[in-house]
Symmetry: C2
Subunit: 452 residues, 2 copies
């Protein structure tokens, strides 16, 4: 399952970029109710990138292309509860480590190493204690940490074949999960039931969800994580569900479909606008293109479509310049995908933003998670959406600013369109794109067909 | 859904036991890959007991039967991502709070209050900073904390009607999940597929799993949390899966069934021994009986059965006295069940063990999680098991000590019995017991019948 050559390659590539040693911790599973009732373990993505497999309570030291593994052997007592576990030597062999030591040896080898803070606070405290310096989550605390972050970002921005194989695996399972969700909806009476059908497929393939699923008739609540609503004929259901492989690689897919199997004419009108933006953005992807331009292109197609439907008034380009599109499409067109669903978001905008660039304070650009020129080997999502968010539409400031741009009467006729998003995972290739999620239909008529 | 009278009752009962103010924090969801990709939120059980509903980043002050709520209103930005959220005032009304304040007010009201540390380390650090004293997870750091823990334990040891209603809800969903798992197994080809079917039912009812499911053909690995094995005819599948309600109340059920629908004669022999222990223990439960005696009774019935099968040799009582039963049944007969699957295990043995008692160092008793006289209103699990744990059977020390007690040739004939456990949830009533999980068959023939 693990490709040691790939791992050694990644370690060597890191060595080509920096000239100081690095220690990366894997982390541990946080406890939920009490110590033995814990959340499932999820290793730090930076650790996974170089070590290949999730090992709890471990650390790796990377130096000159070599990897030393630090972990304790399972205690005899743990054999009773957890069975025969691989020893340190077994794991060292499996991941192609150059040496392997008990954890306590690490503290003598830790002078002047660079690191990246893990997400679990327990290990994070341990990191700081061992290194005898404080670490800030989200940003570098020391110049070598900063250099390390940049080096890792430059590696993880584009994917090797081993990574792509894993991402494809995750994508394929997610595609099937969505197909089953779409096909089962007419038999389901609640959001929770559709979620169950979709996640069940992911669990049956021995994968986990890469993020908390969104399965909702209130698609306008962008990060909705509740599933208590009943499904009613006439509702649209928005499902943003993605699998993650056992080695930690993610996928991220959204589809929106009508609960009763038929888009109403207003739903279909808006769906086709979102789909036009989706398709146009994907067609525009190729190496060298600025992702920010893809975002603005998506915004323009959305604005054009909404003007054609009589919902927005005026010239599409001018509307985008004044961020009128963002009334209905308030988030970014997408993000990097890899070991994390928003890849390397633990490093803040250092990963998503090209050096020297910062977040725009424009309403229609500030939520963009990625602002870099595209490169072959990157995987990005494209996920335009249309939402009627009460917090935006009823906001006095927005209402005043955009009052003349919106045909409010026309908008009232769209009360059955609360939220639509269409999201695919796109590999940037030398010549353009490969839509990794291409086996999942996007066209409204194909979705209706699947529901028949 | 929430019964304010029950909550007020619990608050008043606490006030009857202690004469100092208490602050309990709810906690927050730990981040997984990065801040926005977090584990699902699970509120501290002590907070849930008095506040009734999970509210992230909140605290309650309990004094003289009154409850003050401390939480910040959702930020305007969060409305965009999370929709209209209830305000502090809405929540205060919902949970019957006497007053409600922003979080920052708490630090002026926190002198000399008792508390219990939460499990999430982020909030735990905050607790310590606010209280300006250090807290140890698992034990009281100050005398008033100790008194608080004992007071809460005395309340949570037995359940009011509101709690029982929630536990019954969780149990009923788990019972159905097990039925579906049993009925679907012949169509499944991996552990992961059976897990998916079972958890899917729980998700479809908008509940979560109360703990990480065990669904394994290696039942001898007691806390097995992997699901990668294929199912082969002749395997037994052990499934320990339980639902938790939206308000946090747990259930905990285990069944073991043959993958092909028929117990082999060796599997059936051992199954019936475990079931005899299970049934005898449940029949012995009533107020006043020591749970430790139930455990020893289970051990004796197991030993008797194994002697009858010719696997153990000698007098059952003598075998139990020397812990020979624990070779095959190395864990305790069960535990408390409530808001936590091992209820109040965050307080260590302060909850599970009657004052003045400590863990036995006997191999056959030391893993017992509960050592108290039973009282009406308690909910406990009864979960005897038989396992062939290589770490025990091959352990030189055990091998030597028990060599004469075991018929090793006979044992060899049981190679298709790796692990069997049968676990039910039992309410202690004034007159004896109510088996909350009674709608799920335990008899081997009934399970075979369900699989037909």
């Amino acid at each position: 399952m693990i490709n040691i050559n790939t791992l050694k390659n990644r370690r060597q590539k890191l060595a080509n970029l920096i000239n100081f040693p690095v220690v990366l911790w894997s982390g541990k599973s946080p406890s939920k109710n009490f110590k033995a009732n814990h959340y499932p373990f999820r290793a730090s993505s930076h650790f996974l990138y170089f070590a290949g497999i999730p090992i709890e309570n471990a650390a790796i030291k990377l130096e000159n292309g070599k990897l030393d593994l630090f972990m304790d052997n399972p205690s005899p007592d743990s054999t009773l509860w957890h069975g025969e576990m691989p020893t340190r030597e077994d794991i060292a062999r499996e991941i192609g480590a150059n040496s392997a030591y008990p954890m306590e040896v690490l503290k003598d080898q830790i002078d002047d190493v660079a690191t990246i803070p893990v997400q679990d606070i327990f290990t994070y405290e341990k990191q700081q204690k061992m290194l005898q310096r404080s670490l800030s989550i989200n940003k570098a605390s020391k110049e070598i940490d900063n250099q390390l972050m940049k080096a890792i970002i430059s590696l993880r921005l584009t994917h090797d074949e081993t990574a792509l194989k894993e991402i494809r695996k995750a994508v394929n399972v997610s595609v099937e999960a969505h197909k089953i969700g779409i096909k089962s909806t007419k038999k389901c009476s609640t959001e929770a039931e559709v979620r169950a059908v979709m996640e069940s497929y992911i669990i049956s393939k021995n994968m986990i969800c890469a993020y908390n699923s969104i399965v909702t008739i209130n698609g306008e609540i962008l990060h909705n994580e509740t599933y208590h609503n009943s499904l009613k004929s006439g509702d649209l259901l928005l499902a943003d569900v993605g699998a993650e492989t056992a080695l930690g690689w993610a996928s991220d897919i959204t589809r929106t479909w009508p609960v009763n199997g038929h888009f109403s004419s207003s739903q279909r009108d808006i769906y086709d606008v979102v789909l036009a933006a989706h398709d146009t953005c994907i067609e525009a992807i190729k190496p060298g293109v600025e992702y920010r331009e893809i975002h603005l292109l998506g915004a323009k197609i959305m604005a054009e479509g909404l003007v054609n439907l009589g919902i927005l008034k005026g010239d599409p380009e001018t509307l985008v310049e004044k961020d009128a599109h963002a009334i209905f499409f308030p988030h970014g067109i997408g993000h990097l995908l890899g070991l994390d669903v928003h890849d390397m978001e633990d490093l803040g905008d250092l990963a998503g933003y090209e050096e020297g660039r910062t977040r725009s304070d424009r309403f229609g650009l500030g939520y963009l998670r990625l602002d870099r020129p595209l490169k072959a080997g990157m995987v990005v999502t494209i996920e335009p959406g249309f939402y009627q968010v009460p917090a935006i539409l009823n906001h006095p400031q927005f209402k005043e600013k955009y009052d003349q741009d919106i045909n409010w009467d026309k908008l009232k006729q769209l009360s059955d369109v609360r939220g639509i998003r269409i999201e695919d995972d796109i590999l940037v290739t030398e010549t353009g794109t490969e839509i990794l999620t291409q086996n999942l239909p996007t066209q409204a008529e194909n979705i209706e067909e699947m529901m028949r």
